[in-house]
Amino acid sequence: MEIAIFFSLFFLIVASFMALIRVIKGPTAPDRIVAIDILGFILVNVCAMLTVITREDFYMSVALAWALLSFIGSIALAKKLEGKEFDE
């Protein structure tokens, strides 16, 4: 059981590093925004995995809040790409 949990965490770390590679390499702004969006979802999964490890349910609340916030961030960045303000 510990090995399975270890592997899932390991996969998450590898995935987040891949997303980070895309954030660093770019080459364009939309590429970076996509990567940050995905990184947000990966971190939601990490928070959820912390629930599994610690058996504390408040990490799920963190995950939920994180999903909400990263969505707003992505939408704002996408609007910026389009050259509009957030309330347009």
């Binding site: 996969f11 987040s16 891949m18 995905i38 990966i42 799920m60 790409l81």
Partner: protein
Amino acid sequence: MNEYIGIILINIGILFNLVSCLGLVRLPDVYTRLQSSTKAVTMGSSLALIGIAVFTGMFSVAAQSLLTILFIFVSAPTAAHAIARGAHSSGIRVERITAEGLIGRTIEYELLDVVRVGEKFKKDRFDHTLETCPIFEIEEPIDDEELLERVSKVLAPRLKMRPRELERMLLERENEATTALAPEVAFPHVIVEGQNMFEMLVVRAREGVRFSEEQSHVHAIFVLVGTQDQWHFYLRSMAALATMVREDDFLEQWKQAEDEEELHKILLERSRRRHLTD
């Protein structure tokens, strides 16, 4: 038992996340990256969250993970759509899919290639002429006599003539009436002795060629030389060229083209457009 089912679901979901991040690194442009990453991450995260709810068996965790799944299902496609829209309106093009590094990098050029391959059986003699005709670049400002001299040197051996003779004939034709027919475009042309010969030569003059005092400088010159028996094709080529250069954005594209290859491509693209509209 619940724990085993849960951990299997978690691992499958996280493997999906891993694969989608692999796509994020490996795929060529922003649209394909979006397509690989957002879809797989949505489903993978949902599966992992279901697995976590099964694993812990706690009501609060299950409720919150269901809420998170619901939210991810709404937000991830919306965010992906917004990012794709933003990328498109900020001018990011779709990368070509097959044979990168052939001609152009974007998918417009690829589609043009596909159209051309598909219509190969329709390719007529004029297209062939356009494809094989030599294209010249002239950087410095010159006048029409010097231009015709240079052109004759190239064309004469192909027509089995002496350069002087061809130059004299072209000049005579030029003096009868100017061949600068449209603004900034000229068609020096002449009928020569012999049989079954037709040659076309295209010149792009960056600084322009002065054909006559009152007219503007000429930037695109199409030299046509043919024998009497090619008269029909000769006229048809001239008509086709005239249609091509009359389009509004032709000269702009012509002046901005980087190299010979691009000039060839402009000519072929234009002639293809003529075919499609016929």
